[in-house]
């Protein structure tokens, strides 16, 4: 569960990124967070992942109060999240298998667990035949699937995808979105940050629109309203 309650955030250079943002995402939901560049989307992601702290208001992520969370607790909070980035952020020197296994190793999983779980997740994202390839041998869509597998492998409560289709063609973008939808159907909360209107309108999901640091729309249909 992710809850923002009247959250304000101003950066050191004076930029007012968020001006009283409130919303709540329940467990099991699939939500699009949309808005133009500079609207505050990235700030919301950073607040959720703990890269920055709110100035005012409350950010609660899976039971952790992000305004007062101790530094030592941050890794444990992050283990409840799976994050997918636009630029994939894979380790070039490692194979697909190793990239995914790495995320499990980080949280102290045993070799036995890793050997059991990684092939399962790679099969889920359709990469079970390409486990031993390195990222530079894969297409953009496949690399994003690896990133999704890595985000999923520790069984997070929430998957956050930050512009996951930004570097992909429309067909691959649709595939990735369908994969995220499938993951959501398996019970994981999914938050997709995007500015791709066409893509959002292909799915009948909740859309939170943000503009100039404020929530301007929060609707349960394929309504992409911030620029209308």
């Amino acid at each position: 569960m992710v809850r923002f309650t009247d959250v304000f955030k101003t950066y050191e250079n004076g930029t007012k990124a968020l001006k009283g943002v409130s919303f709540e995402i329940q467990d099991g939901e699939f939500v699009f967070l949309v808005g133009p560049s500079g609207s505050g989307k990235t700030t919301i992601i950073k607040l959720i992942t703990g890269e920055i702290a709110p100035m005012d208001g409350e950010v609660n992520v899976n039971g952790y109060d992000m305004g007062s969370i101790k530094f030592s607790k941050m890794p444990y909070m992050r283990r409840t999240l799976g994050v997918v980035f636009q630029d994939f952020r894979l380790m070039e020197g490692k194979t697909v298998y190793e990239n995914v296994a790495f995320a499990m190793r980080v949280v102290g999983a045993s070799n036995k667990e890793i050997r059991r779980r990684v092939p399962y997740v790679l099969e889920l994202v359709g990469l079970d035949k390409r486990m031993m390839r390195r990222p530079d041998e894969l297409s953009g869509g496949e690399q994003q699937r690896v990133a999704i597998a890595r985000a999923l492998v520790n069984n997070p409560r929430v998957v956050i995808a930050d512009e996951p289709t930004g570097n992909l063609d429309p067909a691959r973008s649709l595939e990735i979105m369908m994969l995220l939808e499938k993951i959501n159907e398996l019970g994981t909360t999914v938050l997709v940050v995007t500015h791709e209107k066409e893509l959002v309108n292909n799915f009948n999901k909740r859309v939170i629109a943000i503009d100039a640091g404020r929530v301007v729309s929060d609707r349960m249909d394929r309504y992409y309203s911030y620029d209308e």
Binding site: T49, P75, M91, A103, V106, S110, N111, R150, N154
Partner: protein, 295 residues
Amino acid sequence: MTSNRIGYYLKEGMVSVFNHGFMSFASVCIIVACLIIMGSFSLLGLNVDTIIYRMESENEILAYVDESLSDADARALESRIEQVPNVASAQFVSREEAMDSFVKQYENTSLFDGVDATVFRHRYIIKLDDISLMAKTQTDLLSVRGIAKINAHLEISEGFVRIRNIVTTVSVSLVVILLVISLFIMSNTIKLTTFERREEIAIMKMVGATSGFIRWPFVVEGIVLAAFGSLSAYILQYGIYRLVTERLIGNTGFSFITFIPFSQIAVPMLIVFVAVGFVVGVIGSLIAIRNYLKV
């Protein structure tokens, strides 16, 4: 910490050493250079200190016994003199022995012809534990009943103490400065390796790695580099020390100098090299990675 995780840290640390071959080589070279410079100054200081100590121990105090004391009473003073703080040894020299010594010293002259031994006084040749306390020991000895006069070369002892203090201060200062420089260079070298891997560290943080999990492979890397560096420096230092001492001993101009044999300092030096390398490697790694763990 599970064996699984320890295995991971060791593997990652070792792999990183070889994956970043040039940087690893640079780090080892830096450790070797710093340790050899530090080691050379330490050995120089140690040898100078030993030579000065030997010369100091040859610097004696003469305590003259009151003439009114009988021979037996004069000899009995020995135990009381040895109880005086800072006295290492007291050797009784009778007036006859003193005269014999002078006669031998001036045997080609008629200076002592017809001179009776009674003109000499019984005396003690006293060696001290710490030459820097000579003035105080002199006062303490004078308070021993039966000691009439003390002959001590305070100016010589002060000179030795001054030289030893200067050598110690210079050596310790240089070692400390070089240690700080080594730490700085080592941490910057590992920082470059860390900079190459900042994306990997960011991913680790994002998937929930604890700071310890991220830090340990770098610490292992630092230890491995330090071990290579320390052992290489130790072997080189041995070669340099042997070469220099053999050359100096072979040179007649320095024949009065005796050096500490390497075998005497081999084990403590190995321990110091490994310890300094370890400290530089581990602290250097920790300093290098500190900034990347703040997120």
